[in-house]
C-alpha cells in the first residue's frame, strides 16, 4: 500500500514537473514573444523580475537602461512582457485605436473595477472613455490655469515656510499633495485639504505611499494576494489599521466598490 501510494505520488510529481518544463519550453519556442531578445531567465519565468521587484531597495526599472544597452531597443523583461525604448515602436503600441490590449490582471484593482481603465480592449473602452474626452480636451485644460496658479501659490508659500524653519521636505509627498489637490478640485470641485496638512503629510497621501511598496507582491502573486486580502480585510478595522496600515488604506478604497455593488 505504501509502495503504491509512493508510486502514485512520484507519478504526480513527474507529471507536474513535465507540465512546468513544457511551459518553459513553450515560452522560449512557440510563444509569440520568443523571437525578442532578453535575458534567458526573464523569458522563462517572472522570477527574473521578481528578484529585483520584491527587494525593498531595488526594482526592475533600475536595470532597464543596462538591459537596453545590452539587448537593443526592445527587450523581453518578463515571459509575457516587452520593454520598449524606441519612439516608433512605442507609438505603434500606445497610439489611439491601437489593437494592443491592456493586460487585464495588471488593471484589475477592485477599487476601480468598472472604470475606463479596467476594460482591456481600447475599442471596447472607447464609447465609455469618450464621455470624458471633452472634459480633458486641450481647451478645457487651458481653463485650468488659474486653479493651478492658486494651488501652486499655497504650495510655494508652504515650501518657503518649511525652508525658514530649516525643515526637510519630502518632495514626492509634497508634489503628491499639489497634484492630488489640483486633480480633485478640477474633477469634483472639492478640496481635500491636502496642502493644509502639516509638513505635506495628509493621511490619504501617507496611506497611498505605504501601500505602494507592497503592490509588486500583488502583481506577481495575485492568488496569495487575494487570500491575504480576504484575511486582512476581515479583521476588525482598528486591528488592520494598527498592524497593516497599508492594507487599511487599500481596504478603505475597496469599501467604496462594496457600497456600490
Amino acid at each position: 500500500m505504501v509502495v503504491l501510494s509512493l508510486l502514485l505520488f512520484s507519478q504526480i510529481l513527474l507529471l507536474a514537473t513535465l507540465l512546468v518544463a513544457a511551459r518553459y519550453i513553450y515560452r522560449i519556442t512557440f510563444h509569440p514573444l520568443a523571437r525578442f531578445p532578453g535575458p534567458k531567465l526573464a523569458a522563462l519565468s517572472n522570477l527574473y523580475a521578481v528578484s529585483y521587484d520584491l527587494s525593498s531597495k531595488d526594482s526592475l526599472v533600475k536595470h532597464l537602461k543596462s538591459l537596453h544597452d545590452k539587448y537593443g531597443p526592445i527587450v523581453r523583461v518578463r515571459p509575457n512582457e516587452l520593454h520598449i525604448f524606441n519612439w516608433e515602436a512605442y507609438r505603434t503600441v500606445f497610439k489611439q485605436g491601437s489593437d494592443f490590449d491592456r493586460p487585464a490582471d495588471f488593471y484589475n484593482n477592485p477599487e476601480i473595477d468598472g472604470s475606463i481603465l479596467s476594460t482591456p480592449s481600447a475599442r471596447v473602452a472607447k464609447p465609455h472613455r469618450d464621455l470624458f474626452v471633452n472634459a480633458f480636451s486641450k481647451a478645457s485644460i487651458g481653463h485650468l490655469e488659474p486653479l493651478i496658479h492658486e494651488k501652486q501659490a499655497i504650495f510655494i508659500d508652504k515650501l518657503v515656510n518649511m525652508a525658514k524653519d530649516n525643515k526637510t521636505v519630502d518632495f514626492d509627498m509634497a508634489l503628491n499633495c499639489l497634484t492630488g489637490e489640483t486633480a480633485m478640485h478640477y474633477c469634483y470641485q472639492m478640496s481635500l485639504g491636502l496642502l493644509d496638512a502639516p509638513d505635506f503629510r495628509p493621511s490619504l497621501i501617507v496611506d497611498m505611499h505605504e501601500f505602494a511598496p507592497i503592490v509588486p507582491f500583488f502583481w506577481y502573486f495575485p492568488g496569495i494576494g487575494a487570500l491575504l486580502n480576504r484575511i486582512v480585510f476581515n479583521l476588525p478595522d482598528d486591528v488592520t489599521k494598527k498592524y497593516f496600515p497599508a492594507a487599511a488604506s487599500a481596504k478603505a478604497m475597496g469599501a467604496v466598490s462594496h457600497l456600490t455593488q
Partner: protein, 120 residues
Amino acid sequence: MDSNHTLQQCEALISSLSRAPPTSNEVQSSIFRQALNPNKEKNQYVASKKELVADAILMFLAGTDTTAHALTFGIWEMIKQPKIWSQLREEVRGVVPNRDEVPSLQALETLPYLVSLVWL
C-alpha cells in the same frame, strides 16, 4: 482626513450629481456632465453608477501619482545635474521679470529648453 472618508466622498459625489438637474451649475462644471447625460440619439455610452464611481476614484489616483512622480524625477535630475538647473532658470527668468509674478502657460510654452525638458 481619513482616506476611507475621501473615497466614500467619490460615491457621495456621483449620487449628488445624478440627483441634480442636468442643466445645474453643479453638473455642468463637473467632468461627469456628459457621462451623466449621455446623448442616446448619438448612441453615447450609458455608464452605470458603479462605473462612474470607479471612474471618479481612477481620476484621483491617475491624476495624482503620475504627475507628482514626473515632477519628482525632474527635480531630482536637476539637483544631480546643476547645469540643467541653471540653464532652465536663466530661460524662465526671461519671461518672469518680476520674481513674485507667475508666468502664463502661453509664455512658458514659448521656452524651447523648458518644453524639451518637460517632454523628455
